[in-house]
């Protein structure tokens, strides 16, 4: 299989793995089971690699990875996720991780979009404007 056909096949498999616009673990398992039965090993490896990349990207599109300094209540995390779900038009779930290097505030990453409301970024911008 050529690289283009592998990418197209992985895209098709990803579409089969979505349930309501969200990656479903059951559907992913079914797709993998079907693949292992229908494809030989040397054809399966590049296809599985491309499928894994697509699944990770799709999962990242549905996650709001929140880095925060200090405590962040689950309600605030949900509020952040709801904000991005509303903005992007798809369901987004929060994944929070504490990072005190941000000093205060938080940084949210949804797929390739980054929103930074941290004190460290503001200090960096201040330093840049002063220099």
């Amino acid at each position: 299989m050529s690289a283009a056909s592998v990418r197209a096949e992985a895209k098709r498999l990803l579409a089969l793995s979505l349930e309501g616009g969200v990656v479903s673990s059951e559907l992913v398992g079914a797709v993998l089971a079907a693949l292992t039965k229908s494809r030989s090993a040397h054809q399966l490896r590049p296809l599985l690699r491309a499928y894994l990349t697509n699944v990770r990207r799709e999962l990242a599109r549905g996650e709001a990875r929140i880095e925060h300094a200090g405590p962040l209540s689950p309600a605030d995390a949900d509020a952040i996720a709801a904000h991005f779900a509303k903005a992007l038009g798809r369901p987004v779930r929060p994944v929070a991780r504490r990072n005190d290097a941000l000093l205060a505030g938080f940084r949210v990453r949804v797929a390739d979009d980054v929103t930074d409301l941290s004190a460290s970024l503001r200090l960096a911008n201040l330093a840049k404007s002063l220099s």
Binding site: D100, A104, G105, L117, A124, L126
Partner: protein, 206 residues
């Protein structure tokens, strides 16, 4: 010729005188009447002591002598004199021509000298003008180069100053920010950070 004409004139006057003297000597008349004028002349010369044959011989001798003298002495002498005169005249002419040529040469040399002097003066003036122009050009070039060097130096100094100010400003900013970050990191407690996070959530919601 004058001497001969005098003799002829005397011969013409002689019959009258002989007629006057022949009256007393009438017996000589037949003899005198028998001689011609040539004889009379001969006699007259004879009365003066001139002997005809001798005179003729002397005339012949004199003629020969005159011819010899003329042929071998006077004529060569005259020729030499003429040659000498010709050489002298030629020498004089040559000397005059040489004098004239000398004068012309002197005049030509004076003219050439004057022309060379004028040319030298002109060359000297041109050289002075060229040197003056070269000095002026060098001065202008040096002034331009000096101005350019000064401008470059000023620009370099200004660039260094701006660069140094930027570096100082950046360093000061970095130190200020680092200090502020350390102060915040040490002084912010979880309660304050929680409040700040809530404020950020509200800011995001807006």
């Amino acid at each position: 010729m004058t001497f001969l004409s005098a003799l002829l004139a005397a011969a013409e006057h002689a019959p009258a005188a002989t007629k006057a003297a022949a009256a007393p000597a009438a017996h000589d008349a037949p003899a005198a009447a028998a001689h011609g004028p040539v004889d009379t002349i001969i006699q007259l010369f004879g009365s003066f002591g001139v002997d005809g044959p001798h005179l003729l011989i002397q005339l012949i001798n004199f003629t020969i002598l005159a011819f010899v003298l003329y042929r071998f002495a006077i004529k060569p002498a005259l020729g030499q004199m003429e040659e000498r005169n010709r050489l002298i005249e030629k020498g004089l002419a040559d000397a005059q021509a040489a004098t004239q040529r000398l004068a012309e040469a002197q005049k030509a040399s004076d003219a050439k000298l004057n022309a060379a002097s004028d040319e030298a003066a002109k060359i000297l003036a041109d050289a002075r003008n060229a040197a003056k122009a070269a000095v002026e050009a060098a001065k202008a070039e040096a002034a331009a180069a000096q101005t350019e060097v000064i401008a470059k130096a000023k620009a370099a100094i200004e660039a260094d100053r701006v660069k140094m100010l930027a570096e100082v400003r950046g360093e000061v900013s970095r130190l200020v920010v680092e200090t502020a970050a350390k102060v915040l990191e040490q002084n912010l407690d979880d309660a304050t950070r929680g409040r700040l996070n809530e404020a950020a959530v509200k800011q995001l919601a807006r």
